[in-house]
C-alpha cells in the first residue's frame, strides 16, 4: 500500500498546457477517480504518474519516494489502457507472466501466480488462448490480471471500460472495485463517465482544462460542487446565473423575475452567483395546489424506471428539469400540460460567479484554436 502524491504537476505540449499545477493525494488503498471531459488532461496526468510522460514541472511521490525522474520500468505500477494493449503475439498466460519473467521470478512461482491471477479475474480456463480469440471484456480482464500480477505499488487505469458495451461495463466495473478492495491497492482511475466515477470511487477529482477544480467524496462532488463547471459536468440539473439575496437566515437567488430558495449557503455572500437546481430538488405539486411555480411541460423522456420532464417556466431563461419514478409521474406530466412545481432548497447548489469559463489555455495566455 502506497499513497500517491502529486505536487504542482504540470505538462505542456508546445504552447498548450495539458495539465497545470495539479496537486492531490491518493491515500493508501484508496480508489481515486480523475473525472473530466475529453481533453481536460486526465490521461496526461495518469501517464505522468506511470512515467510515460515527462512532467514539465512539479513532482510525483509514491509514499515518501520522489519518483518524478524514475523511468517507467522502475516505478512498479500496474497500468491498464482503454485499448487493452494485450500483447498480440503472446498467449493469455504469457501476457500475465510477462512482468514476472522480466523480474526473473522462478518458473514454478510464475505458473502459480499466473494461474491465481487468471482465477481472480475469472479467466481460469483461457490461459492458452491467443488474444485474437478473446472478446473485449475478456481482453480487459487479461490486461488487469497482467497489471496486478507484478504486485504493483499502485494501479493506474485509463478509461478501461470505454470499449465495452453498456451491460458489460457495469459488470466489469463492479469486478474492478471488488478486486481493488480485496487487494487494498491504491488506485488512480481515469474516466469521463460521471456515473462510473460516482459509483466506484472513494474520492473523485474533477478536472477541467488542465486543472483540478474540486476533490471530494462522490456525495460532496454531487451536492456541493465547488465551481460552476463541476455543477454542470457532474449530474443533471438546471444551471442558472443570478444574484444572491440574504434575508435573515434564509437566502434566495433572484434569477430574472423568479426566486430560487437555497439552503445553508456556505461560500457566497450576497452578490452574483450561479445556482444549480437538481431534478430531485424539483417537486410536482397537485394541479389544484396553491402557490408553487407554474410552467408548461415541453418535453418528456421515458427511461424505464424513471421519467424526466423539462418544464418551461415564464421568467426563467432555461427549462427546469423534473425527474421521478415513472409510476409516480405517469399520466401526470404530458407534453403541453400545465404543471405546478415547488423547489426544495436541499436539491439546490449555489456558488459565487466566476470569470467566464476558460478553455485549455495556451502557455502564452491566449485561448487555443
Amino acid at each position: 500500500m502506497t499513497k500517491i502524491r502529486l505536487a504542482e504537476l504540470s505538462r505542456a505540449f508546445g504552447p498548450v498546457w495539458a495539465v497545470r499545477g495539479v496537486s492531490l493525494e491518493v491515500r493508501e488503498g484508496e480508489f481515486f477517480s480523475l473525472l473530466g471531459p475529453s481533453g481536460c488532461g486526465k490521461t496526461t496526468t495518469l501517464r505522468m504518474v506511470a512515467g510515460l510522460e515527462r512532467p514539465t514541472a512539479g513532482h510525483i511521490y509514491f509514499g515518501d519516494d520522489d519518483v518524478t525522474h524514475t523511468p517507467p520500468q522502475h516505478r512498479n505500477v500496474g497500468l491498464v489502457f482503454q485499448s487493452y494493449a494485450v500483447f498480440p503475439t503472446m498467449s493469455v498466460a504469457d501476457n500475465v507472466a510477462y512482468g514476472l519473467r522480466i523480474r526473473r521470478v522462478p518458473g514454478a512461482e510464475i505458473r502459480r501466480r499466473v494461474a491465481q491471477m487468471l482465477e481472480i479475474v475469472g479467466l481460469g480456463a483461457l490461459g492458452a488462448r491467443m488474444p485474437g480469440q478473446l472478446s473485449g471484456g475478456q481482453l480487459q480482464r487479461v490486461a488487469l490480471a497482467r497489471a496486478l500480477a507484478i504486485q504493483p505499488r499502485v494501479l493506474l487505469l485509463d478509461e478501461p471500460l470505454s470499449n465495452l458495451d453498456a451491460k458489460l461495463r457495469v459488470e466489469v466495473r463492479a469486478e474492478i472495485r471488488r478486486l481493488q478492495r480485496e487487494l487494498e491497492i491504491t488506485t488512480l482511475y481515469v474516466t469521463h463517465d460521471q456515473e462510473e466515477a460516482l459509483s466506484m470511487s472513494d474520492r473523485i477529482g474533477v478536472m477541467h482544462a488542465g486543472r483540478l477544480d474540486q476533490v471530494g467524496v462522490p456525495d460532496e462532488i454531487y451536492r456541493r460542487p465547488a465551481t460552476r463547471f463541476v455543477a454542470r459536468f457532474v449530474g443533471e440539473g438546471t444551471l442558472l446565473d443570478g444574484v444572491l439575496v440574504r434575508d435573515g437566515a434564509r437566502a434566495r437567488v433572484a434569477v430574472g423575475g423568479f426566486e430560487v430558495p437555497v439552503g445553508e449557503v456556505s461560500a457566497p455572500r450576497a452578490g452574483a452567483v450561479w445556482v444549480c437546481i437538481r431534478p430531485e430538488g424539483v417537486r410536482l405539486l397537485d394541479r389544484t395546489a396553491a402557490g408553487g411555480i407554474g410552467g408548461i411541460v415541453e418535453y418528456v423522456e421515458f427511461v424505464g424506471p424513471s421519467l424526466r420532464a423539462d418544464v418551461r417556466v415564464p421568467g426563467l431563461p432555461r427549462l427546469l428539469r423534473l425527474a421521478g419514478s415513472s409510476v409516480d409521474l405517469a399520466g401526470r406530466v404530458r407534453t403541453g400540460d400545465a404543471v405546478r412545481l415547488a423547489v426544495d432548497p436541499a436539491g439546490v447548489a449555489v456558488g459565487p460567479a466566476e470569470a467566464p469559463e476558460a478553455e485549455p489555455v495556451a502557455a502564452g495566455g491566449g485561448a487555443r484554436a
Binding site: E8, S10, R20, G21, A50, G51, L52, R54, P55, T56, A57, G58, T68, H69, T70, P71, P72, Q73, H74, R75, N76, V77, G78, L79, F81, S83, A85, F87, P88, T89, Y98, G99, I102, R103, G132, A143, R146, A147, I150, R211, E354, A355
Partner: protein, 563 residues
C-alpha cells in the same frame, strides 16, 4: 479566477538508474547514425563541397565552354525526364481509373500491368534495340508499308525505354491513391446529378492529386537518374548521369568534371524533391485505408477500358518476349525472325557463374544490413521528432539522386584508402560495393518499416515498460515480433531492388566483381544480345521468384490481420 501555477520550475532530464548501463538500442542507433554519416552524408557531401570549392576558386574557367556543355546536358536530361513523365502520367491516369473503377473484376490486369517493374531499365533498353533498331523487328515490319522509323538511338530510344519501364510505377502510385477514395464520395456526387466523367474530373482527380504528384516525382527522378538506357540506346544524345559515368570511368578525362556533374544532379534532384513534396503536402487529404471503392458500370466504358488496358499490358509485355526469344536465338537480324535457335547462351552462362555468385553474395550481404538500418531508423523516425524528420530526408537522398552519383561519391571518398595497405583494397572493393547497395536502396525497407511502425499500438510498448521491461527488452520482445512480417517483406523487396541496381555498381565494382546487371550491360554494349538475353532471363527469374514470395506473404499477413 484560478491562480496561475506559481513559478513553474523546469524538471530535470530523465534520471537514469545509477551505474553505467549500456543501452543496446542506443548502441544500434549510434552505429546506424555512423553508417549514414560515413556512407551517405559524407560521400554526397564531399561531391558538393568539392564542386563548391572548385567554383569558388574560379576553376570552372579551366574547362573551356563548360557552362555551354552543362546547359546542353541539363536541357537533354530535363527534356527526357519531362517527356517521359508526361507520357507516363497521361497513360497511367486513365489506366488506373479504368482498372480500379471500371474493370475491378479483372484480377489479372493489375498483375500484367506491373510486370515491367521486374526488369531493370537497361534490360528494356536492349529490347528496344531489337524492336526498333536499324534492323529491328518493328522497323522491318513497317518498311514494306513505306513507313520509315526514325533513328532509335538518341532521344526516342531513351523515351521509349523509360516509358515502357516506368508506366507501372506511375500506374501503381495513382491506383493506390484511387483506392483511398471512399465509395460514398462518388455515390454522393452521382446522386447530386453529376455525370460519371464530371465526378472523375471534379471529385476524384482533386482527391488523388497528391498521388499524381507523387507518381510524377517518382517517374521524373527515375528517368532523370537512369544511366543504363541512355548508355545503350542514347547514341549521341548525352544526359547528365551518363556523362558523369563515362567521364568518371575513362582514364584520360579530368575527374573534376564528373564530380561537378554529380553535384549538379544532386542539386536538381533535391530541388525537384522539395518542390513536389511541398505540392503533395498542400494537396494531401487524410485518408482512411481499406475503404470500398465505387464502380462505374457503363457498358461502353467497359469495352473501351478492356481494349485500352489489355492493349497497354500487351505492349508492356512485348519486351519480355523479345528478350526471351533473343536468349534462344543464334542470330537475330537482319531478318524478321531469328535464323535459328540454340541453348548455347545458357550453356555459356553455366561456364562462368561468377556474376550470378557475385550478385547473390552482394545482395545477400547488403539486404540484411539495409533492413537492419531501416528497423533502427524507423524507430528513430517514430520517436525522434525533428531528428526523425531529418533522417527521412537523409535516407531519401541516395534514392532520388542517380545511382551513379552515389557511386562516384563513395569512390571519391574511400578509394584513396586503397594505397594504405594490402588489406584495405578488400574493404574498398567488394565491401564498398555492398555499402553502395545499402546506401542506394535503404529507403525501400525504410518506407516499409515506417509504415509498419505506425501500425503498432504504442500502448503495447508502454505496458511492457510499466511491467518493468527495459526499453531494449521491450523492443526485443514486443516491438520486433510485431514488425516481423514487415521485416520479411522488406527483405524481399530490398533484395529485388539491390540485385537490379546498375548505376552505382558500374562505378564501384572492381575487376572480378562483375554482377548480373553489369554483365547484361556489357553484353548488350558489345552487341551480344543473345548472351545479354540469357543473363537477363536469369535475373528476371530471381526477381520474379522474390516478387511472388512477397505477394504470397502479403496475402498471408493481410489475411491474419483480417481474421
Amino acid at each position: 479566477m484560478r491562480a496561475e501555477p506559481v513559478a513553474i520550475e523546469r524538471t530535470r532530464a530523465w534520471g537514469r538508474p545509477a551505474g553505467p548501463t549500456l543501452d543496446p538500442l542506443r548502441v544500434l542507433e549510434v552505429l546506424t547514425g555512423a553508417f549514414l554519416i560515413a556512407f551517405l552524408i559524407v560521400p554526397i557531401g564531399a561531391i558538393v563541397v568539392d564542386s563548391a570549392a572548385l567554383i569558388a576558386r574560379g576553376g570552372l574557367w579551366e574547362f573551356p565552354d563548360f557552362v555551354g556543355y552543362l546547359v546542353r546536358l541539363t536541357r537533354n536530361s530535363l527534356v527526357v525526364a519531362s517527356i517521359v513523365t508526361v507520357i507516363c502520367v497521361a497513360v497511367s491516369l486513365p489506366l488506373a481509373v479504368l482498372v480500379g473503377r471500371v474493370l475491378p473484376a479483372q484480377r489479372l490486369l493489375p498483375v500484367a500491368l506491373t510486370l515491367p517493374l521486374l526488369a531493370p531499365p537497361f534490360v528494356y533498353a536492349f529490347a528496344t534495340i531489337i524492336l526498333f533498331g536499324r534492323v529491328g523487328v518493328i522497323t522491318q515490319l513497317l518498311a514494306p508499308l513505306g513507313i520509315r522509323m526514325p533513328e532509335i538511338y538518341g532521344l526516342p530510344g531513351i523515351v521509349v525505354t523509360h516509358v515502357l519501364h516506368l508506366i507501372p510505377l506511375s500506374y501503381l502510385t495513382i491506383a493506390a491513391g484511387l483506392r483511398t477514395v471512399p465509395k460514398a464520395i462518388e455515390e454522393c456526387a452521382i446522386s447530386l446529378g453529376s455525370t460519371p466523367m464530371q465526378v472523375l474530373v471534379r471529385i476524384v482527380l482533386p482527391y488523388v492529386s497528391s498521388y499524381v504528384y507523387m507518381a510524377s516525382l517518382l517517374v521524373f527522378l527515375a528517368s532523370f537518374g537512369d544511366v543504363g538506357a541512355p548508355l545503350l540506346v542514347g547514341g549521341q544524345y548525352l544526359v547528365l548521369p551518363t556523362e558523369a559515368f563515362t567521364r568518371f570511368t575513362s582514364f584520360i578525362a579530368d575527374r573534376r568534371v564528373p564530380v561537378l556533374l554529380s553535384s549538379w544532379i544532386v542539386a536538381i534532384s533535391v530541388v525537384i524533391l522539395v518542390v513536389v513534396r511541398a505540392l503533395m503536402r498542400r494537396t494531401a487529404i487524410v485518408h482512411t485505408f481499406g475503404v470500398e471503392t465505387y464502380t462505374y458500370a457503363q457498358p461502353s466504358w467497359r469495352v473501351v477500358g478492356a481494349v485500352f488496358c489489355w492493349g497497354i499490358a500487351a505492349v508492356l509485355f512485348v519486351p519480355y518476349l523479345v528478350i526471351f526469344v533473343s536468349s534462344l536465338a543464334t542470330v537475330w537480324g537482319p531478318d524478321l525472325l531469328p535464323k535459328g535457335y540454340t541453348l548455347n547462351h545458357y550453356q555459356a552462362l553455366w561456364r562462368s557463374v561468377e556474376p550470378l555468385r557475385n550478385s547473390l553474395l552482394v545482395s545477400g550481404l547488403a539486404t540484411p544490413i539495409a533492413v537492419m538500418l531501416a528497423v533502427v531508423i524507423g524507430r528513430m523516425m517514430r520517436d525522434g521528432g525533428r531528428l526523425g524528420a531529418a533522417l527521412d530526408y537523409v535516407t531519401l537522398l541516395p534514392f532520388v539522386v542517380s545511382g551513379v552519383v552515389v557511386g562516384i561519391g563513395l569512390v571519391r571518398v574511400y578509394s584513396p584508402l586503397d594505397t594504405l595497405s594490402p588489406v584495405v583494397p578488400l574493404i574498398t572493393g567488394p565491401a564498398l560495393l555492398v555499402v553502395a547497395m545499402v546506401s542506394r536502396r535503404v529507403s525501400y525497407p525504410m518506407r516499409v518499416l515506417a509504415a509498419a511502425y505506425t501500425r503498432i499500438d504504442r500502448s503495447l510498448e508502454e505496458s511492457s515498460l510499466s511491467l518493468g521491461a527495459s526499453p531494449a527488452t521491450t523492443f526485443w520482445r514486443i516491438t520486433l515480433p510485431q514488425l516481423a512480417p514487415a521485416i520479411v517483406a522488406a527483405l524481399i523487396i530490398t533484395f529485388i531492388q539491390i540485385i537490379k541496381e546498375l548505376g552505382a555498381t558500374l562505378i564501384v565494382y572492381r575487376p572480378g566483381w562483375v554482377t548480373l546487371p553489369v554483365q547484361i550491360y556489357a553484353y548488350a554494349l558489345e552487341g551480344n544480345l543473345g548472351r545479354a538475353g540469357a543473363v537477363s532471363m536469369v535475373l528476371l527469374a530471381i526477381v520474379a521468384a522474390g516478387t511472388a514470395a512477397a505477394g504470397l506473404l502479403g496475402r498471408r499477413t493481410r489475411g491474419e490481420v483480417a481474421s
